[in-house]
């Protein structure tokens, strides 16, 4: 679908779908340079998903890519990555609650 959306672009330089807006959710995509795609599914009207995706990417680089036991292209089974991801989401939730 990413590739098809690039083909339908009216101008050059399209990188695929970044945001998908539906009735009950919003899907945001972040593409890293080697082409790994990170998706976040959130409530409509969510703010700061850009920054969140960037933070998740940083966590991915720190806990997954720098992990010597991790094989590229395999499913990620790193406890530390899961833990720090959960912490990040909770922090984000707390920040939203306080606003």
């Amino acid at each position: 679908m990413h590739a098809i959306s690039q083909q339908l672009s009216p101008t050059t330089g399209c990188g695929g779908i970044d945001i998908l807006e539906a009735d009950t959710f919003v899907l945001r995509c972040f593409q890293s340079l080697p082409g790994t795609k990170f998706f976040v599914v959130a409530e409509p009207g969510s703010q700061g998903l850009d920054a969140l995706l960037k933070n998740i990417y940083d966590l991915y680089v720190d806990y997954v890519l720098k992990n010597p036991f991790y094989e590229v292209e395999m499913p990620i089974r790193c406890e530390l990555f899961d833990l720090s991801l959960t912490q990040l989401i909770l922090k984000d939730k707390a920040m939203l609650g306080s606003r």
């Binding site: 679908m1 098809i4 959306s5 690039q6 083909q7 339908l8 672009s9 009216p10 101008t11 050059t12 330089g13 399209c14 990188g15 695929g16 779908i17 970044d18 945001i19 998908l20 807006e21 539906a22 009735d23 009950t24 959710f25 899907l27 599914v41």
Partner: protein, 154 residues
């Protein structure tokens, strides 16, 4: 040369995938023939709809990917954005899909699409006694009204 404005192109499909109308304002890049382009567009909308229903976090996944969705059944997406364009979709209960491709900075076009459907498409096409439903149409009044309305969109 006039500034392109924010509109790029528009497609209108019926429930069978027939492209009833294709309107272009500014499209510097066209990679496929019009028929292929329209088929691809319809295919993409179909797949994205299926995908949206499956991805919906608020419902229990009952359907299988690839099963055709009736208009109004399940969750539907109304827009997606890429770095070069934004695509906004309106699907009516009769299965008519109006697709607007615009500049990525464009805001929510749902109201605009509803206006185009009820005040331009229905008025100039459906109510036109010479129009045969299910076929591609070409109507000068429709084009003029559409161009005029689109100029008011920011």
């Amino acid at each position: 040369m006039a500034a392109p404005g924010r509109m790029r192109c528009m497609y209108i499909f019926n429930r069978n995938g027939v492209c009833l109308h294709y309107h272009v304002w500014y499209r510097p890049l066209t990679t496929l023939s019009p028929q292929q382009d329209q088929k691809l567009m319809f295919g993409l909308l179909f797949s994205l709809r299926s995908f949206t229903v499956k991805m919906d976090p608020t419902s229990n996944n009952k359907g299988h990917l690839g099963v055709p969705q009736l208009p109004g059944q399940g969750c539907s997406f109304h827009a997606f954005t890429t770095n070069t364009y934004k695509l906004s979709l309106l699907e009516t209960p009769s299965g008519i899909k109006i697709v607007l491709v615009t500049d990525p900075g464009m805001g929510d076009l749902r109201e605009a699409l509803r206006y185009i459907y009820s005040n331009i498409y229905v008025e100039y096409v459906i109510k036109n006694p010479l129009y045969v439903p299910g076929e591609h149409f070409r109507c000068e009044l429709f084009n003029a009204a559409l161009d005029q309305y689109v100029k008011t969109l920011k």
